[in-house]
Amino acid sequence: MPNDSQYVEILQSKAITEIQSCSNLKDLEELSHRYIGKKGELTLLLRSLGTLDEKERKKIGQKANKAREMFEREFAKKKQHLIMHEFESGEQDEWIDITAPGAKLPKGHLHPLTQIQREAKEIFQSMGFALADGPEIESEWYNFDALNIPASHPARDMWDTFWLKEPENSKQNLLSGTAILKEKPQKFLLRTHTSPVQIRYMEKIKPPLRVIAPGRIFRYEATDARHEINFYQLEGLMIGKDVSAAHFKGIIQEFFKRFFEKETVVRLRPSYFPFVEPGFEVDMRCVFCAGKGFSINKEGQKKDCSSCGHGGWIEIMGAGMVHPNVLKAVKCDPKEWQGFAFGIGLDRLAMMKYKINDIRLLYSGDMRFLEQF
């Protein structure tokens, strides 16, 4: 009997069962239509309530309304579930091989020496050093004389030099863009170190000063895994009233710590460069074996450290306290000013940092090398 309260219950449980057993959205919509659509069974039932007496109407009406609410709740729940299921099962059919390579995007690389220079510049700039530059073609005066390196002295043999042929029909050469021509006609050469920038900088900037000058330099020598005819150096110079060797040690130790991101110390040994006095050879305690001189491999065997040989120290640069004659050459009073200068081989740093075993790779232009950086 349609007006039987029992009938409501039967209808309700039938509808819920059907909803729960429904397996796709289309069937579900169909159910909705069948039960609560315009001519749906529940709709019709609710509409027929008017024919009943008040008591019955209230009783069955309540039940029927509850049944409808329940239907709607269950319907919504089922719908949500079926939607989720449909997306998920759809994705199952969309399997791809995630081990296949990603799209190849255009990608450039910066040369390892560019990266090394950037790191070094950043560290020194953070310690207040300015950045300077100088020409690669230098006059003999800037490269040697002003740096207290006398002509026809064996000390000059420390710098094997490329000389330039004098242009025809010319007695004097000026470097374009440089105003200073010293007293005599100059011979020109490819700078053998970045030290001439010390002179050029101090001619313009008065102390106190802190400056670094990275750049390309040239040496006339046979090439091999450790030697190139052109390579990079970073010059450093600090002049003040009381700048000492201890300050040099402080600055350079900090530089290496930051550059290699490891604790290290430096030690100074006697050396000779005519533009400094005292002159130092600077060793860094090997950051790769922590100064032990060896490493222990997986099999527990001791192996000589590949970076420092076995000594635990790496010879890393030349330095010293600026020679009074150099200060005089730039009209700076050595009684008033003093300071340190140093020159680091950047290729060496790059080779150590990236474990490059042949300096020539840096200038080979080989993409198989360059693309690793």
Partner: protein, 683 residues
């Protein structure tokens, strides 16, 4: 130089530290020890004596003194024999010095009745320990004294000196001398030689002459200890490409006070070697005697330079250990320098001696106190780094090439005679491959490109660096950036290169970039590298900043490039002139934009720019952007024609455009395009 441990021990009054310890001490206080070789009952030290100490340490006795200074030890006094002459029968030897500037001292002994014979074992062993062959007692003693004192000695056969006269003079060009090692050397001008009455008998300070050499028949000798001018000897070595141990010692300079003492030492050793003989004449030409210098040393100066306080007694001890005499009290010391230490000339030199002997390990690492004065940015460097970042972001890989080009490059790259005249040439190239300074970045980059193209189908490379040329009498050094791009099967890499240039300029904030057709012309050096019709001048505000173009077919063939390659090269100074880091936000237009396309069939040599210009002018302010999206020639089109298609973007800042407005503008654009009879708008 090689040093024998036992030989060094011989001069030391104390037991030397063990070889390994000594090596470490020398390394940290004096000189780098290259190697220590164990011999049967000795150690051989290979020590790199610093150039400023060669004059006193290129000898075992000098080295023993250095070791004594750093180990707080003492050395023995050398045994000598007096050189007082006795009566003899030999004719008096006359020595002329032509130029006194070149011979600070000339000392020699004439020894009568010498016995030339094999050396005693002790002498032989010493020499052989450091790799010298024993010859005879006389020659061995001269070598021994040189390796002991650092003063070269030379022995002449008295009877071979014709006319008993020796003249020390400068050589004339082309003169010849036959040396002990059986070489006949043709001399340049200005080399020191010794001549007897008739011929050259010695290459002074470098090598003895064969004519006057000691032989088994020698009865009388002239034993010479001269002090020749270091610069003259150095230049001679360099000019002749010929050198000896003696020449190396001379070119570093030697204390002239060593000459006579060395001869007296040699007399002692000759006596030990049972050589008989007596000194019958002493020659000593020493016009300006070298005296000990004095330096005023302030204790504060030591602390100020080294950054460590060295106690006064320690300062004095160190100065004494290196042979100085110290007077004065308190912190101001008057230090008298032994003439044997020619390197000590100024206060700072003494600071070094004190520092290294006291120990550089005593110097602490301390941060300096300096004004908080941030350095000014270096704009050139910043620009360089921006350029690198920009090109890298466009997929270019940076390479560094040599600053040199080879002797064959000028023809490989089709330089004109005037290009060649501008090349900076090396006087002493290391090989033909590195003869000139690179006049552009193109040569070496193209070589890099060509190498890589053999193993890669697609390449983009760039370099930032200096190029060199002659500008009149001047050397010009110019910063450049250059890039190369190419891809197998890519027919027109020009557009890739041009795209990179556009992106670079945009990155650097350079507006108003313009491209002009490039023609090979006299005004452009190194011009034949570029393709005749696929190359453009890059201009900003009317100024040329560089070139972009395909590499010419001829040069591509010379370099065996496997596919077409395009390049750009831009002057960094020009980039710096126009670069700008200023940026300003432009309001985003709220009103929608509408895109309409237009396609035009034109002659294949018609320039895109002409159409862009026409559309722009006809479109007026409603046209926000015109972009090329298709450029086609080939099948389906009439011969000699190409199809160019653009997206035209319509938008107004202040309202939504009506369909009518857009149609009207679009029609007027088409109308304008159609006025050109060569252009056919496709509908």
């Amino acid at each position: 130089m090689l040093y024998s441990y036992n030989w060094l021990q011989h001069y030391s009054k104390y037991k030397l530290p063990q070889a390994e310890k000594l090596e470490e001490l020398l390394n940290t206080h004096s000189f780098e020890v290259e190697e220590v070789k164990k011999q049967t009952s000795d150690y051989l030290f290979d020590i790199s004596v610093l150039p400023n100490r060669s004059h006193d340490c290129l000898g075992h006795f000098g080295m023993a003194k250095e070791i004594a200074a750093i180990t707080n030890g003492k050395t023995i006094a050398l045994k000598t024999v007096s050189s007082n002459p006795r009566k003899g029968k030999l004719a008096k030897l006359t020595v002329h010095i032509q130029n006194r500037q070149m011979v600070a001292r000339y000392a020699a002994l004439v020894i009568e009745g010498i016995q030339v014979k094999p050396s005693p074992k002790k002498l032989r062993d010493r020499l052989e320990a450091v790799g010298l062959h024993s010859i005879n007692n006389v020659v061995d003693v001269t070598n021994y004294v040189m390796l002991e004192m650092g003063q070269p000695l030379h022995a002449f056969d008295y009877d071979q000196i014709e006319g008993a006269v020796m003249t020390v003079r400068e050589s004339r060009k082309g003169e010849e001398v036959e040396t002990l090692d059986d070489q006949t050397l043709s001399l340049p001008e200005g080399v020191l030689v010794i001549e007897d009455k008739n011929r050259l008998i010695d290459l002074a300070g470098i090598k003895g002459g064969k004519e006057s050499a000691i032989s088994q028949k020698t009865k009388h000798i002239v034993l010479q200890a001269a002090n020749f001018d270091p610069i003259t000897i150095y230049k001679a070595r360099k000019q002749m490409g010929y050198s000896t141990q003696a020449a190396v010692m001379y070119s570093h300079g030697i204390d002239p006070n060593l000459a006579m003492i060395s001869l007296q030492r040699a007399l002692f050793l000759l006596k030990e070697a049972e050589s008989e003989g007596k000194v019958v004449q002493v020659i000593d030409i020493y016009p300006v005697k070298r005296l000990a210098k004095k330096i005023l040393l302030h204790a504060e100066r030591i602390e100020s330079l080294l950054g460590v306080w060295v106690p006064l007694p320690e300062i004095k001890r160190i100065l004494l250990s290196i042979g100085c005499q110290v007077t004065g009290n308190g912190k101001h010391l008057r230090v008298q320098i032994p003439t044997s230490r020619m390197d000590l000339a100024i206060e700072e030199d003494l600071v070094e001696e004190i520092g290294r002997i006291y120990g550089y390990d005593q110097i602490p690492a301390v941060f300096p106190l300096a004004p908080l004065d941030p350095p000014l940015p270096n704009k050139e460097w910043l620009l360089q780094e921006s350029v690198r970042d920009a090109l890298r972001a466009s997929g270019y890989t940076e390479t560094y090439s040599y600053s040199f080009i080879s002797a064959t490059d000028p023809s490989k790259f089709l330089y004109t005679p005037s290009d060649r005249k501008k090349l900076v040439e090396l006087q002493n190239p290391i090989s033909e491959d590195f003869s000139y300074m690179r006049p552009t970045l193109l040569e070496n980059l193209l070589k890099h490109f060509s190498q890589n193209a053999r193993i890669s189908d697609e390449l983009k490379i760039f370099e930032v660096g200096k190029v060199f040329g002659l500008a009149g009498k001047n050397y010009a050094e110019t910063g450049m950036v250059a890039g190369f791009v190419g891809e197998r099967q890519l027919e027109q890499p020009f557009y890739q290169a041009k795209g990179a240039v556009a992106q670079l300029c945009e990155w650097l904030g350079i507006a108003g970039v313009w491209y002009d057709e490039y023609k090979h012309a006299a005004d452009h050096a190194y011009g034949k590298v570029w393709h005749a019709t696929r190359c453009a001048k890059i201009k900003v505000h009317g100024k040329e900043i560089g070139l972009v173009g395909e590499i010419s077919r001829h040069v591509s063939a010379n370099l065996k490039l496997p596919f077409r390659v395009a390049a750009f090269q831009i002057n960094m100074e020009m980039l710096a002139q126009f670069a700008s880091s200023e940026k300003q936000y432009q309001e985003i237009v709220k009103y929608p934009s509408v895109v309409r396309d237009v396609a035009v069939l034109v002659h294949k040599r018609t320039k895109v720019f002409e159409l862009l210009d026409a559309i722009g002018k006809a479109g007026g302010i409603l046209v926000k952007d015109i972009s090329l999206f298709d450029l086609y020639e080939g099948s389906g089109l009439p011969e000699g024609k190409k199809n160019i298609a653009f997206h035209i973007v319509y938008q107004a800042d202040d309202r939504t455009l009506t369909g009518e407005e857009i149609e009207q503008t679009q029609s007027s654009i088409i109308a304008v395009l159609e006025t050109n009879p060569q252009w056919e708008v496709r509908k």
